[in-house]
């Protein structure tokens, strides 16, 4: 009779157990994310490790066709572009000289130099080999992992700005949570006015900058950079440009819409900063030691690329 009862209750019992397990996992994952840290665990690491080469192989034919076509089209335009770029370089060199002169005069060159050295940390270039399987979340799979010194909690960039943060790594692969994901938020400042706020992912293609009303000056066209507060990203990395300010006089917090500095729809190569902020260092403490700057930079010249620095005048 007991056996018959168990047979009858087997499915409901299993259902209750699985629902409970899923809810527990969701709650625990949310708590971990709110703290700023997430651990993929050995199972997550295993799936990353297996998925990266397979997804890379699956993407290869389409990427090949796209690259060939892109190179062909690019070649057609290269002469004109070259002339335009030469002109632009000359113009920028001139501007640069003027800025340097102004900075030396104002005594801020040393400050800028210190900031540059602060963010010139070793980097690992990585290839994006896959994206999130859900249309509601924004993450990418990269082909670099712990064997390359990449750890969860490290910032990921392109030459144009911040991409996101590594949230899970296996031996040879990693998952990067993109800045536009609704779960992402970082501390940012407006480069021009130094107004500080929080940059949040909208879950779509854009970013939102929340800032306090009192004394804050945010205008369309302003560049928002990382503030260095919060401990996840070094100071001075480009985040996005203000394209709309939603100023409600009655609200305590104002919002601005940002156009991300990075084109998230065309991510191919990214750079992982081999640096972890003090907060994340504490949270991911158990994950092993980080490589030394020199050690990380030693194996290949590819690791010493400078971070996208803010424009002078910040």
């Amino acid at each position: 009779m007991l056996r018959a009862l168990f047979e009858r209750l087997r499915v409901p019992l299993l259902l209750a157990l699985l629902v409970g397990l899923a809810l527990l996992a969701i709650a625990s994952d949310r708590r971990a994310l709110a703290r700023g840290a997430r651990d993929a665990g050995w199972l997550g690491g295993f799936f990353l490790e297996v998925a990266a080469p397979i997804q890379k192989a699956l993407s290869a034919p389409v990427d090949g066709v796209r690259n060939t076509w892109g190179n062909y089209v690019a070649l057609l335009d290269v002469r004109d572009q070259n002339a335009r770029l030469r002109e632009r370089v000359a113009q920028l060199q001139e501007e640069n000289l003027q800025f340097r002169e102004a900075l030396v005069e104002s005594g801020r060159l040393r400050t800028i130099a210190e900031m540059r050295s602060e963010i010139e940390v070793p980097m690992r270039p990585a290839q994006v080999v896959g994206t999130d399987v859900s249309p509601w979340f924004h993450s990418v799979l990269i082909d670099r992992g712990r064997s390359d010194g990449v750890r969860a909690g490290m910032p990921v960039l392109t030459e144009t700005g911040v991409v996101g943060i590594a949230t899970a790594t296996s031996r040879n692969a990693g998952r990067v949570l993109l800045l536009v994901d609704a779960q992402s938020s970082i501390d940012g400042i407006v480069q021009r006015s130094r107004a500080r706020g929080i940059v949040k992912g909208t879950g779509g293609d854009g970013l939102e900058f929340e800032f306090f009303v009192r004394g804050d000056d945010v205008q369309v066209g302003d560049l928002v950079i990382t503030s260095g507060f919060g401990g996840a990203y070094p100071k001075g990395l480009r985040v996005g440009e203000v394209i709309e300010v939603q100023a409600d006089p009655s609200a305590f917090i104002h919002r601005a819409v940002l156009k991300p500095a990075v084109d998230f729809g065309r991510l191919e190569q990214v750079f992982v900063l081999l640096w972890r902020g003090p907060t994340l260092e504490l949270l991911y403490e158990g994950e092993g030691d980080l490589p030394d700057r020199e050690e990380a930079a030693a194996p290949a010249p590819e690791t010493a690329a400078p971070a996208p620095a803010p424009r002078p005048g910040s």
Partner: protein, 175 residues
């Protein structure tokens, strides 16, 4: 039964890998959710604890390949399996004209579930711009996934008690 579970899980995993690769060049939302579709296929063919457990495992696998909270897909895919079982008692889901609208409805329920669990940012135009093509892609792929699953089951051990034996009759239901 174990082989059927493995076939379902393998099919979902292959689908997730393909979607994870294709998402780089396909506009957001225009790719189906393989784990949801396999959960539906499981709901049509695999009853009881094995079906439930496999649907959960398929969802958990999707969670491991996504940046979403761990357990979210597992919960939703398990719900999809349950809804499919419940619907199969009332209508003939084996028919395409019934299955396609059912999957559209299930995709909408999936979005609501994701929103309740915090996965979908905010209900609005931006969310609809993803949800509508996603439901369309799911509906378009549902038949193919079901047929592929059935074909794969055809290669699984014929000694399996479920092999080719399960018929879903509207009104009577299968436990």
């Amino acid at each position: 039964m174990r082989r059927i579970a493995l076939v379902a899980w393998g099919l979902a995993l292959a689908g997730l890998w393909i979607v994870g690769s294709a998402a780089a060049w396909v506009p957001r939302g225009w790719l189906p959710d393989p784990s949801l579709l396999v959960a539906v296929a499981l709901g049509l063919r695999v009853p009881g604890a094995p079906g439930l457990l496999t649907a959960w495992a398929v969802g958990w696998t999707a969670d491991l390949l996504s940046a979403g909270p761990l357990g979210q897909h597992a919960l939703l895919d398990m719900s999809a399996w349950l809804l499919t079982r419940a619907a199969a008692r009332r209508v003939d889901l084996a028919r395409s004209v019934v299955l396609v609208p059912f999957v559209v409805g299930l995709s909408a329920a999936h979005v609501v579930g994701e929103w309740l669990l915090g996965g979908v940012p905010e209900p609005g135009r931006a969310a609809l711009a993803v949800a509508i093509p996603h439901a369309t892609a799911n509906a378009a792929a549902a038949l193919a996934v079901r047929r592929l699953f059935d074909a794969l089951l055809g290669h699984v051990d014929s000694d399996d008690p479920l092999h080719g034996a399960l018929r879903i009759d509207p009104g009577t239901g299968v436990r």
